[in-house]
């Protein structure tokens, strides 16, 4: 089965959290209801409100601007297609992040299937483009280490730390429990620590490096 053609495949096996205390924000609700009435332009404020968060989430999966941009656009397109089925049982952002995580997972699964040669060529080209963007070595090292974490741990860490979701919200997005989210996050941090420690000593970052700007 081609993963990219089966969105929401990977996480759909898990039972989602049924009870939510996170309702859509009022400003989201009006836009969502307008979209559900068929007002296409009502989707624009939702894009404007969440585009940065969705883009950053995607970036943390793919580590380059080009793919992150395409994926973020795909996420909003899927959200628009499905918004008729959004009933407000969760925050719109939670729902949107779930679509984003699944889209990213499917993208990675499909890319894994591509030939190594092509993947390397594209990755090299994109890395050159990304190098022109403002960045620093430590940021890149940590991002790469995060992107190599096991899928559940990576998703948990990204949603909790970078998208600032609560444990309950992460559990909703990933169809998991709060206890599992906490355990996955702790494992993710442990693995991240190990991955960074395994790097060449000369390149190993330390928390002090941030303070000195190195």
């Amino acid at each position: 089965m081609t993963s990219i053609a089966a969105p929401f495949l990977i996480l759909a096996n898990d039972e989602p959290a049924r009870v939510s205390r996170f309702r859509p924000r009022e400003e989201d609700r009006a836009a969502i209801e307008a979209c559900q009435r068929g007002e296409r332009e009502a989707f624009d404020p939702l894009v404007e409100r969440y585009q940065r968060d969705v883009y950053r989430l995607c970036y943390r999966y793919v580590n380059n601007h080009h793919d992150a941009s395409d994926l973020a656009q795909d996420v909003f397109l899927k959200a628009y297609r499905a918004i008729g089925r959004f009933r407000g049982d969760s925050a719109f952002s939670t729902w949107l992040y779930r679509i984003a995580v699944n889209t990213c997972l499917n993208f990675r699964a499909a890319r894994k299937a591509a030939s190594e040669e092509l993947k390397d060529d594209v990755a090299d080209a994109r890395r050159r483009v990304d190098d022109r963007m403002e960045d620093d070595e430590l940021s890149q090292q940590v991002r790469e280490a995060v992107s190599r974490l096991p899928e559940k741990q990576r998703a948990t860490l990204i949603l909790k730390i970078y998208n600032d979701l609560t444990h309950e919200e992460v559990a909703q997005v990933l169809g998991s429990t709060v206890g599992t989210v906490k355990a996955n996050l702790f494992h993710a941090l442990g693995n991240l620590r190990k991955a960074m420690a395994d790097r060449a000593p000369g390149k190993r970052p330390t928390p002090d490096a941030k303070k000195t700007g190195d």
């Binding site: 759909a12 559900q36 068929g38 296409r40 656009q73 297609r81 009933r87 430590l138």
Partner: protein, 182 residues
């Protein structure tokens, strides 16, 4: 017996949300304390891993790209149009009247119904104006869609893909044609 606390509880310690029992254990247990400190170090690193920010004008470009892609999409609706359900129900009723209760064997649809994503939901039953119509024709539609697995026919019909809808329509047409020749 000395037992270590769970990883979830250690995460609580890291976030300052642990209870006294867990905190006391970590204070006394070198292994757990080390694990918490290592996780804290990693947490510090994650805070430094910022995503390169595109130029501010990028976001306007991005929104326009999304808006352009939406133009090609059918307008989103909260529920399926009533005429679709009415058309299916009408076709099924005609089939019942013309053919009678014995269903002819029909090849199963080419693809299985994809389960609705976990986050999606149909309109509540008490708000779904199409549901009574679909329930009326449920036995007939169930008879011509043997390969579809769902709890009731309304769910089956709603969950049909375009291909499956086509297959159902073809089956109904065949039934109608047979009825005319009897």
């Amino acid at each position: 017996m000395w037992t270590h606390v769970s990883d979830a509880a250690l995460m609580d310690v890291l976030e300052g949300a642990a209870g006294d029992r867990v905190r006391d254990h970590v204070a006394a247990c070198e292994r757990c304390r080390t694990r918490v400190e290592e996780a804290r170090t990693a947490l510090d690193w994650t805070a430094q891993a910022t995503v390169p920010e595109p130029v501010p004008s990028y976001w306007d470009v991005f929104r326009r790209r999304v808006a352009r892609s939406l133009v090609e999409e059918p307008a989103a609706r909260s529920r399926r149009p009533l005429w679709v359900a009415a058309a299916v129900a009408g076709a099924a009723m005609i089939a019942v009247l013309m053919v009678g209760p014995t269903p002819a064997p029909v090849p199963p649809p080419a693809t299985a119904v994809v389960p609705l994503p976990a986050w999606s939901a149909l309109p509540p039953a008490d708000e779904d104006s199409a549901l009574p119509i679909l329930r009326t024709v449920a036995p007939t539609v169930a008879a011509v869609t043997p390969a579809v697995e769902c709890s009731d026919v309304s769910e089956c019909v709603v969950g049909l893909t375009d291909e499956e809808s086509g297959a159902l329509a073809d089956a109904l047409r065949q039934q109608l044609a047979r009825g005319r020749t009897l």
